[in-house]
Symmetry: C3
Subunit: 347 residues, 3 copies
C-alpha cells in the first residue's frame, strides 16, 4: 500500500486549492463509482457528473468554478494535470527484476551493462551493446550488437532492439515491440520483388513510450527517427526512414509508411495511415481511419481515405443524404417546365 496523504498535501502536489477539511487523509485514487471514503476521485468526463452526489469518495478534484460537492474538493486550474498527478501519487510501482544480471541471461563479455541496471531471465545482450544506469530489461528482451539503451529505461518482456539502434533516456517499451526490423523495401525486376538491404538504424529520443507489439523499422540508410516525448500506442507501425517529430501521438494501429514525416506535436488517431514521402505538418491531426496520401499543412484536421479537410468532408457526407430528395425535386421541376413548354406551344 502507498502511504496516506492529507488533502492539504495533495493540493500542493496538484497545484490546487482545498475547499473543505484540509486534514482528510487519502490513500487511494479511484474512479467516481469505485471510490471509498479514503479515496480521492475527480470529475473526468461529462458522462459521470451525475454520479458525484452518490459517490462515497473522501475527496474530489474539480474545476476551479465547480459548484458545491458533498465531499471536500480540491479546485484545480488544470484539472487533467491534477488528475494525472494524483493517480501517479497513489499508483503501485510496477515490478522489476532484481538489479544485476539474472544467471540465465546471455550477456556478451564486450557489452557494457551499468551496475544499477536490472537484467531479467533469458535476456540476450549482444556484443558491443550498452545498457545505461538504472535501466530495466524484463525477461526475454533482446538487445542487438552495438545497440544502446539509455538511462532509466524500461523494456518489457520480449522487446527486440536490433543491432546499432539507439534509445534515449527514460524510454519505455511494452512487451513484444520490435525496434529496428528491416523496412519494407524492394526493387522489381524479372516480374519479382527483390529485397533491398536495410543497413540503417533507428534513433529514439528521450521520454518516448512505445506500445505493446508496435514496430519501428530501421532505415535503408541513415536512420528512422522518433523524436523526444513521442507516445506510440500498441500495434503502431513506423516504416523505414520515417521521421517522427517531438511530442507526437500515434494511437493504436496507426501507420507511417517509408520516408513519411510527422512534424512536432502531430497526431495520428487509431487506424490512421500516412503514405510514403508525405509530410504531416506540426500539430496536424489525422483522425481515425484517415488515409493521408498528400502533404497536410500544420494544424489541419483531416479524415477519410484519401484524407481531406474533416469539416468539409463531414459537410459532403451530410449533403449526400439530401440527394434523394434533390432528385425528386428536380423531377418535379422537370414536369412543371414540361407543362410550361406545352402551354407555350399552345400559344
Amino acid at each position: 500500500m502507498t502511504e496516506s496523504r492529507t488533502l492539504a498535501e495533495i493540493a500542493e502536489i496538484v497545484d490546487g486549492a482545498v475547499r473543505g477539511d484540509t486534514a482528510v487523509r487519502i490513500d487511494r485514487a479511484a474512479s467516481i463509482s469505485d471510490a471509498t471514503p479514503s479515496s480521492i476521485t475527480w470529475i473526468s468526463h461529462a458522462r459521470y457528473t451525475a454520479q458525484v452526489a452518490s459517490s462515497r469518495a473522501g475527496a474530489i478534484l474539480a474545476p476551479e468554478d465547480y459548484g458545491p460537492t458533498p465531499m471536500p474538493a480540491i479546485l484545480c486550474a488544470s484539472l487533467d494535470v491534477a488528475i494525472g498527478k494524483v493517480i501517479n501519487l497513489f499508483a503501485p510501482q510496477p515490478p522489476a527484476p532484481a538489479v544485476g544480471i539474472h544467471p540465465t541471461a546471455v550477456v556478451a563479455s564486450d557489452s557494457e551493462v551499468a551496475d544499477t541496471a536490472a537484467v531479467g531471465p533469458f535476456v540476450v545482450i549482444e556484443s558491443g551493446a550498452c545498457i545505461e544506469a538504472r535501466t530495466i530489461l524484463h525477461a526475454g528482451v533482446h538487445i542487438g550488437q552495438d545497440a544502446r539503451v539509455g538511462a532509466d529505461c524500461r523494456l518489457w518482456n520480449h522487446v527486440v532492439v536490433r543491432e546499432r539502434c539507439s534509445l534515449g533516456d527514460r524510454v519505455i517499451i511494452h512487451p513484444s515491440a520490435v525496434i529496428g526490423s528491416d523496412g519494407y523495401g524492394y526493387y522489381r525486376a524479372d516480374g519479382r520483388h527483390h529485397k533491398i538491404a536495410h543497413g540503417g538504424t533507428v534513433t529514439i529520443g528521450d521520454d518516448v513510450e512505445i506500445g505493446a507489439g508496435a514496430c519501428v523499422d530501421r532505415a535503408k540508410m541513415g536512420c528512422t527517427l522518433i523524436g523526444a516525448g513521442c507516445k506510440i500506442d500498441n500495434l503502431v507501425q513506423v516504416g523505414h526512414n520515417a521521421r517522427v517529430g517531438e511530442n507526437c501521438l500515434l494511437v493504436a494501429h496507426a501507420a507511417m509508411a517509408g520516408s513519411s514525416t510527422l512534424e512536432d506535436h502531430a497526431i495520428l488517431a487509431g487506424h490512421a495511415g500516412v503514405s510514403d514521402h508525405c509530410v504531416v505538418g506540426g500539430g496536424a491531426i489525422g483522425l481515425a481511419h484517415a488515409g493521408i496520401a498528400h502533404d497536410i499543412p500544420p494544424g489541419a484536421v483531416v479524415s477519410g481515405a484519401p484524407a481531406t479537410d474533416h469539416k468539409q468532408r463531414l459537410r459532403g457526407v451530410a449533403a449526400a443524404k439530401k440527394i434523394p430528395e434533390l432528385i425528386q425535386r428536380v423531377k418535379r421541376l422537370d414536369e412543371r417546365v414540361k407543362r410550361l413548354e406545352s402551354t407555350e406551344d399552345d400559344l
Copy 2:
C-alpha cells in the same frame, strides 16, 4: 491418426439424420475438394455447391431439405453446428509441453503451479502467481507477480500476462499476445505528454480466446474487463478500462479505445474501432473499418468513419453516383427555363 467412426455414430454426435448407408466408416473431415473416400465433407458456402457432384467424399453434411447427393449424407437442422462438431471430432490435438515444470523454466518459489499444469522451456512465473489445474504454458510464456491463470487454459509461446491480471478457466491465448500492458494515458503540461501510471489490472472471463499479437491494456484503476465467451482475433487492441461484455466478437485489427464499452454479443469486424467512452449496444455490429465515435444502440449495424447506420450510408454512397447525371439534368432544365423566360419576354 484419429480413430474412424460410422456415419451412424457421427450423426448422433452432430444431431443429424443419415440418408444412405449408416455403416460407412469415416476417419477424416475435409473440404469438398480435398475429401477422400474416408472423409466426410459439407456444403459450407454457396460457392462450392457445384463441386458436390465431383467430390470423392465418403459422406457429406447437408441442410435438412437438401436434394440427392452422390454419397451418403447426414441431414442437419443446424448445419454450421454440425460442421464445427465434425471438424472437432477428427482434428489432431495440438502438442503441449510435458506435464510438470521444464528444467529451464524460472518459477518463483512462492508461486502456485498445479501438479497437472504443463510449463514449457524458458517460461517465467513470478512471485505470488497462480497457475491452476491442467493449464498449459508453452515455451517463453511470462506470468507476472500475483497474476492468476485459471484451469484448463492454454497460453501459447511468448504470451505475457502482467502483474495482478486474472484469467478465468478454459482461456486460450495465442503467441505473443500481451495482457496487462500499460494503457495509453497521458496528461499534458508544459507542452509535453506526461505518463499516467496504470495501477489497475485486466480480468478475463471463462472461455475467452485471444489471438496472436493481440493486446489488452490494464486499467488506470479498477480493471479492464473481457467478459466470458469473448473471441478476440489476432492483432486486436483493447484499451485501458475498456469493458467487453459476454460473447462479443472482435475481428482482426479491431480496436477499443480507453473506457469504451461493448455490450454482450456486440461485434467489431476487421479494422473497426470504438472511440474512448463510447458504448456499443448489445448485439450491435461495427462493420469493417467502422470508426465508432458515438454511442451505438443495441442491434444497430454501422459502418463508415465516423460510423453511421450502414443501410442509410450505402444509400448515400449509391446516391452520390447519380450526382453527375443530376448536374447535367439541372443544366438542361436551366436552359429550358431560360428559353421559356426569353419567350415570355417576347410576348
Copy 3:
C-alpha cells in the same frame, strides 16, 4: 566497412553506363542529403531533384536521359533496380548467431538441424522438426513439432512456427511474427461461440518475407498458402485457409479473412482488408483502407469500404462537394419556374 568499388565496377553490377570519371572509388550508398564524396547517391523521388546541385556525393545514379550533374553519373535504364542493387552492394550484413546450436537452446533429439544452420540462445526446436542448410534462427525462436524450415532462411527473434507448418527456402521472418496460430473459427450454439479446431497447417513458398508481428493462421483443414515471392509487411493478418498467390504484396496492417484469395501479383495496401471467401484477381490493388467485400476482377484498383472502383469512387467524392451549390441552383430554378407559372396564370 565494405570494400570500395570503382564507378566502372558499379556500372557493370547495376547494368548502367558511366558518364564522367570511371575510376572514382565509392565505398558507401547514401541518400542525396547524407552523401559524402566517397558515396554514391541517386535521383529517387521528384521531391529531391533540387538537391542534386548541392549534394556532396561522389557519384549519382540517374535515368538514362538525365541532364548534366555536378558529379559523375551512372545512367540506368532501370533506375529503381540500379538503386536497389547499389544499396545492397554496400549494406552491412546483419549479425547472426554462430553456426551450430547455442548451449541454451532446447532441441529435440529427433529433430533434424543442418550442420550449417545457426541456432541462437533460448531457441526451442520440437520433435520431428527440420531446419535446413545455412538457416539462421535468432534467439527465442520456437519451431513446433514436425515443422520444416527450408534452406537459407532467417527467422528473427521470438518468431513462432507452430507444428507441421512448412517454410520454403530463403524465407525471412521478422521478430515476433507468428506462423500457424489457430484460425478465428467458431460455430454458434446455445447463444455462445464454440471453438472449431484448426488441424490444418501453413505452407509458405520460397523467397517470402514476413514482417514483424505479422500473423499467418493455420487452416481448419488443408493449408493456408503463401505463394513464392510474397512480401508481407509488419502486423499483417492472414486468416485461416487464405490463399495468397505468388509475388503478392501485403502492406502493414492489411488483413485477409478466412478462405479469402489473392491471385498472383495482387496488392493490399496499408489497412486494406479482404472479407472471407472473396477473391482478389491477379494484379488487382486494394488501396489503403479498402474493405474488399466482393470479388475483385484482375487488374482492378479499388478503394473505400465496401470497396468499389477507385476512380469512380473519387468522382463520387468530388461530386458530393458540388451538392450544396446544386441545391442552391435547384432552389433558384424553382423560383424562376414559379414566376413563369404565375405569369402563365396571368395570361
